[in-house]
């Protein structure tokens, strides 16, 4: 793809959360969560980029940092050439609002991301009202158009979130994101907490909307089969770092990193606490607070050797567009 097709360019993005313990007087920093550690990637206009990895590897935090919902610790994010992190930090209100509108997040959990005291019509209209996108007398029509687009009926507008099933709730979440005509959507495990039987519907809805509105997606997921189905390229993350990325076919069939291999072989199991599935590998996930040095996967990697715990492997090119960070690759 040519250079001008890049819509979002992330360079060396970092996000550390400090762990603070309270002292008798004041408080002391006792550790650093390496939630996002030197992440680099480009997203091309109109594509769907997959972001996969175990729970806690920093997928959501990557999205939240890019969207300015939490301040970045370092790095650069360019959206159509505009420096997003600068705008979040010290841009004017108009600038911020402009990018609040263009980039949207579809939240991970539709059970917690809808205000229980708001009827659907207010949830969905809030966006275009705040951004002043429609005249008052057209607001109703606009509301019904959006509901229609996500497969909801007009009478749903008067209802409250708790009156809907998980799938319908996620439609409402999508409607809220669409209400401001975005260009770019981070879809954070949009189907993970849903019943298996309705996941396909929601994914189809999302791909239909993408085609219709020319949207660009970053699709965050545990569910590798859906990643394979809708993504053009995939990033694999482990403990805040990228370990491998490339075209979907290469990642699934010619993976080089041992962590990617482990993901491919793992079977998702239902997680009773979080009402969704998660990937379970062998061994303990090391803490993201002061994570292991060298290759972060060395504590669990079957192919690990001495070098792995000492030196961090650099990104190596497997073939065009396919890179991995491993000293002793799979193939």
């Amino acid at each position: 793809m040519s250079k001008q097709d890049v819509i979002l360019s992330v360079t060396d993005l970092q996000k550390y959360f400090t762990v603070v313990s309270r002292q008798i007087i004041g408080s002391k920093v006792t550790g650093k969560v390496h939630a996002v550690d030197h992440v680099d990637f480009d997203v091309y206009r109109g594509e769907t980029l997959g972001l996969v990895g175990e729970s806690g590897c920093g997928k959501t935090t990557t999205a939240r940092t890019i969207l300015g919902l939490t301040p970045a610790s370092g790095g650069e994010v360019l959206y159509n050439g505009e420096d997003l992190l600068q705008i979040w930090e010290k841009g004017s209100k108009e600038e911020k609002m402009k990018y609040r509108r263009k980039l949207k997040l579809v939240f991970q959990n539709p059970w917690t991301s809808l205000n229980p005291r708001m009827p659907v019509k207010d949830i969905v209209s809030e966006g275009f009202n705040i951004h002043g996108l429609v005249e008052k007398e057209d607001a109703r029509d606009r509301l019904y158009d959006i509901l229609h687009e996500v497969g909801l009926e007009p009478y749903h507008a008067e209802r409250f979130p708790h009156q809907f099933s998980g799938g319908q709730r996620q439609r409402i979440v999508i409607a809220r994101a669409l209400s401001v005509d975005p260009e770019f959507i981070f879809a954070d495990e949009p189907v993970a907490s849903l019943d298996v039987s309705i996941r396909a519907q929601i994914l189809n809805l999302m791909t239909d909307l993408q085609a219709k509105k020319n949207l660009t997606y970053v699709y965050i997921s545990h569910d590798l089969s859906s990643v394979r189905q809708i993504c053009a390229r995939v990033i694999v993350m482990y403990l805040g770092q990228m370990v491998e990325y490339g075209p979907v076919k290469a990642i699934f069939e010619e993976f080089q990193h041992h962590y990617t291999e482990a993901l491919m072989k793992a079977i998702p199991v239902p997680d009773p606490d979080r009402s969704r599935e998660r990937i379970v590998l062998w061994g303990e996930v090391p803490s993201t607070i002061n994570p292991p040095g060298g290759c972060r996967f060395h504590t669990r990697c079957p192919a690990a050797q001495e070098k792995c715990s000492k030196e961090q492997p650099p990104f190596t090119k497997a073939k065009k567009g396919h890179y991995f960070a491993c000293w002793y690759p799979v193939a």
Partner: protein, 320 residues
């Protein structure tokens, strides 16, 4: 954009219009449907209804001559066959008798209901506004704003509030024209009644501001003001209502207490004043204490019983 689009638009319009017709009442119907399932709350509401009726009807009943003027001591010189005189026993003319000054007790009980409700509710509204501002901003913004506002709150919490209220009433009374004494009491109760509620609201805001749907609102571009008023406040409504009703009850007791101590407004019929006066003659006519005490007890009870039920009823998650 073909013909089909237009047709479906029309269909949707129709559906919309049907919806609008059924809507108006329906949300309140849902609230009521939920509220009436709660027996105790319903009982509280029943008592309150009677008291509100007494308070509201007092001026009308007096105007129409059904009740005598609550401040008129004319009965003092009424001949005994009309039930007159001070400390008269219950009679057809004065169903509850008259007090030390020969005023009609029943009429004063009715008018006292009005005083109690006005004091309780208006003072609590004032307290709630302060508590929302202080607690809401502290909880939402955290950090220094929080530290500063909570320090002020703590100062109010450790002050000997009741003594200061007495002092303030005395001082303010110098400047205020007679007849407005009640408003001094209301203002003072309102100004001192917020710290507990502010702490509670702060805790709620603190908890709610980190929830996903609040982040979603921020992500949408909502202003802080909008987030606080539309996303956090409605979800903190339950505990606020409970504390609000408890506060009304407290204010009614406090007004009675202030009046009892002689710090109320003697020109306005109040249950607290009635107890104050009746106590002077309690050895002769002990029942004169009982009427206002009974009213205070039931009013406070009614508000306490209603709080929980009201908080539940206003929660859409519990509507069926």
């Amino acid at each position: 954009m073909g013909e089909t689009d237009r047709v479906s638009d029309l269909e949707r319009r129709e559906l919309l219009e049907e919806e609008v017709e059924t809507r108006g009442a329906s949300q309140w119907q849902l609230v009521w449907r939920r509220f009436k399932k709660n027996r105790t709350a319903l009982f509280g509401a029943g008592i309150l209804l009677v008291i509100v009726f007494m308070g509201v009807s007092a001026p009308f009943l007096t105007f129409m001559g059904v009740l005598p003027d609550p401040n008129s001591t004319i009965f003092l010189i009424d001949p005994p066959e009309l039930g007159g005189g001070s400390r008269a026993l219950p009679s057809i003319f004065h169903p509850l008798g008259t007090d030390k000054l020969g005023r009609d007790v029943l009429s004063r009980i009715f008018w006292g209901a009005q005083t109690a409700l006005i004091v309780g509710i208006v003072a609590m509204l004032l307290s709630t506004i302060i508590a929302l501002a202080v607690g809401g901003l502290a909880g939402y913004f955290g950090g220094r704003v929080d530290a500063g506002l909570m320090m002020v709150t703590d100062v109010f919490l450790v002050m000997p509030v009741f003594l200061i209220m007495l002092l303030m009433i005395k001082i303010l009374s110098i400047f205020v024209v007679a007849g407005f004494g009640l408003w001094i009491v209301i203002t003072v109760l309102g100004i001192f009644g917020w710290p507990q509620m502010a702490r509670m609201i702060r805790a709620e805001f603190f908890k709610l501001k980190n929830l996903d749907y609040v982040e979603a609102a921020r992500e949408l571009g909502a202003s802080n003001r909008r987030i606080m008023l539309r996303h956090i406040l409605p979800n903190a409504l339950g505990p606020i209502i409970v504390v609000f009703t408890l506060g009304i009850a407290y204010n009614i007791l406090a007004e009675a207490g202030l009046s009892f101590l002689g710090f109320g407004d003697a020109s306005i019929p109040s249950w607290g004043w009635m107890i104050n006066m009746a106590l002077e003659i309690v050895s002769v006519q002990p029942w004169l204490v009982l009427y206002p005490a009974f009213m205070i007890f039931f009013t406070v009870l009614a508000f306490n019983l209603m709080g929980d039920g009201l908080a539940d009823a206003l929660d859409p998650r519990l509507w069926r």
